[in-house]
């Protein structure tokens, strides 16, 4: 499917990695110098090197808690996908459902879902379940709305085209409307990937015995700023890994769309 492109020079080939990496190195050095020269106390802003030491020192503990958070996010997110996709299809299948539900769904967009997080703690206790539910709820709506938008954005001509073949309603969905909606769905799915991490963290802030959010609260309570900063690093990594994973699935499922878009831009 992909044409072998002409080879780029090495610094262009790795450019997507090298240039941002350079920026990071520069920022870390600037930070170190800034803290040293201005003699900022470490409980306000620690030095990057000290943060790194804490990270190495307490890596086992951090890793164990990161796993819990990752689990909550993954479960909540997958549940979100599993519910959002069929719901979107169902809603667009019937004109009645679409007209009665869609305005309400759009309304929930503006509602801050984390506001009901404390309620979930009352209902589901202090384990991972309430966090999974919050991660689910926060990720679910953007995916649902993106998928519905995609199902509605189908070219009318494409529907006419397959209908002219005496296609059933099921066929117009499976062969035209659902594939058409997937690029929309994935843009929602990427937004949801970052949001569900926020969801799990909010859950952990409110009440937890495990997870990175719980560690952050603990570090905060003891003014252990170095530890606090050290916990941010696995959070960044977790977010990045998760986002990349969704991107990978996207590349696999709608490679045709990405190829066509890149093709249209000219390589």
């Amino acid at each position: 499917m992909k044409e072998p492109a002409d080879r780029l020079p090495w610094h262009e080939q790795w450019g997507d990695w090298l240039y941002p990496l350079g920026t990071i190195v520069f920022l870390v050095i600037a930070w170190e110098l800034f803290v040293r020269l201005l003699k900022i106390p470490s409980y306000l802003v620690p030095r990057p090197y000290d943060v790194l030491l804490v990270l190495v020192d307490r890596h086992a503990e951090i890793f164990a808690h990161a796993l819990v958070t990752a689990q909550e996010v993954a479960l909540g997110y997958l549940l979100g996908v599993a519910v959002a996709v069929p719901c979107a299809i169902l809603i667009c299948w019937s004109r009645l459902l679409e007209r009665s539900l869609m305005p309400l769904i759009v309304y929930t967009q503006t509602f801050p879902k984390s506001a009901i997080a404390p309620l979930f703690l009352i209902w589901f206790g202090y384990g991972i379940l309430p966090k999974v539910v919050i991660a689910f709820l926060i990720g679910f709506f953007p995916m649902l709305i993106a998928m519905i938008t995609g199902l509605r954005a189908v070219e009318p001509d494409a529907v006419d085209m397959i209908r002219s073949m005496s296609a059933s309603k099921l066929q117009t969905f499976t062969k035209v409307r659902i594939p058409y909606s997937l690029p929309f769905f994935f843009s929602g799915a990427k937004v949801a990937a970052t949001l569900s991490i926020v969801g799990a963290l909010v859950g952990e802030f409110i009440g937890a015995e495990q997870g990175l959010g719980y560690l952050l609260i603990r570090a905060n309570a003891s003014l252990d700023t170095e530890f606090l900063f050290a916990i941010l690093i696995p959070l960044v990594v977790l977010g990045r890994l998760f986002f990349s994973f969704v991107g990978l699935v996207e590349r696999y499922v709608i490679g045709w769309h990405l190829a066509a878009r890149e093709g249209a831009q000219g390589s």
Binding site: M1, E155, D157, A158, D160, M161, I162, R163, S164, M165, S166, A167, Q171, K175, V176, P179, I254, W256, H257, A259, A260, G263, A264
Partner: protein, 254 residues
């Protein structure tokens, strides 16, 4: 014999937010079996609308359409439609796009594969069967769309400006190819075009429509012998017919 397509007093009003759009005003039209009929008329006069109504994709506001004696109430079998734009599915290769027709109609894809490849060669896009649509030019995509309309060998072809996006030379070639297919297969063709010479080259009857709301203004019979070629267009009958259609389209009906 009764006509294959029988359009009786069809009126079409689109309901839109900004009020109704009156697209067709009382169109009555017959197309005989095996006949090649072209429709010409100013842009926006409802040609595509008429084609979609005959295909069963749109229900008229009033009047009725029969195809093969059966009242059209939805998409019907035995039709191949070429739309004004190619509408290929971006995630399917050209061959898979053509075979969509076979897939949807629950026919055997293995059986139609060879026919698909023959059609691809016929329209001159061989070598592109495994490419995705974006890798083809607009004109090539439109030719793939023609293969898709022909693959199941339908007795009725509905074509909405199928060659509008092609360069002049390819268009001439495709016109002659379509004439050959039509002569060999005995299909009935309803063909929308903006080109009067193209209509004369291909048609038995040319339907001239008035500006919106569209109605049939005049039927022009083209009788000179087939197979016709580009030189036929220089014949006095052809020149006269072109002049006549131009004159009809130029006059504003009251």
């Amino acid at each position: 014999m009764d006509p294959l397509i029988d359009v009786q007093q069809v009126i079409m009003r689109y309901r839109t937010k900004g009020g109704p759009v009156h697209a067709l005003a009382d169109v009555t039209l017959q197309v005989g079996r095996g006949e090649f009929v072209s429709v010409v008329g100013p842009s926006g006069c409802g040609k595509s609308t008429l084609l979609k109504i005959i295909a069963g994709l749109l229900l008229p506001s009033a009047g009725q359409v029969r195809v093969d004696g059966v009242r059209v109430s939805g998409p019907h079998p035995g039709v191949g439609v070429v739309f004004q734009s190619p509408v290929l599915l971006a995630w399917r290769t050209i061959l898979e796009n053509i075979l969509l027709q076979i897939e949807v109609r629950h026919l055997s894809k293995a059986q139609y594969r060879k026919r698909a490849l023959d059609l691809i060669a016929l329209v001159g896009i061989q070598g592109f069967e495994d490419k995705l649509p974006y890798q083809l030019s607009g004109g090539m995509q439109q030719r793939a769309a023609i293969c898709r309309a022909l693959i199941h060998d339908p007795p009725l072809l509905l074509m909405d400006e199928p060659f509008g996006a092609l360069d002049a030379l390819t268009r001439d070639r495709m016109d002659l190819e379509l004439q050959r297919i039509w002569l060999e297969s005995g299909k009935t063709v309803l063909f929308i075009t903006h080109s009067i010479p193209e209509a004369i080259l291909l048609s038995d009857t040319i339907v001239v429509m008035s500006a919106r709301p569209g109605r049939v203004q005049e039927l022009v019979q083209v009788t000179f012998p087939r197979p016709r070629d580009l030189k036929s267009l220089a014949r006095p009958e052809a020149v006269e017919a072109i002049e006549r259609i131009r004159a009809i389209m130029g006059t504003v009906p009251d």
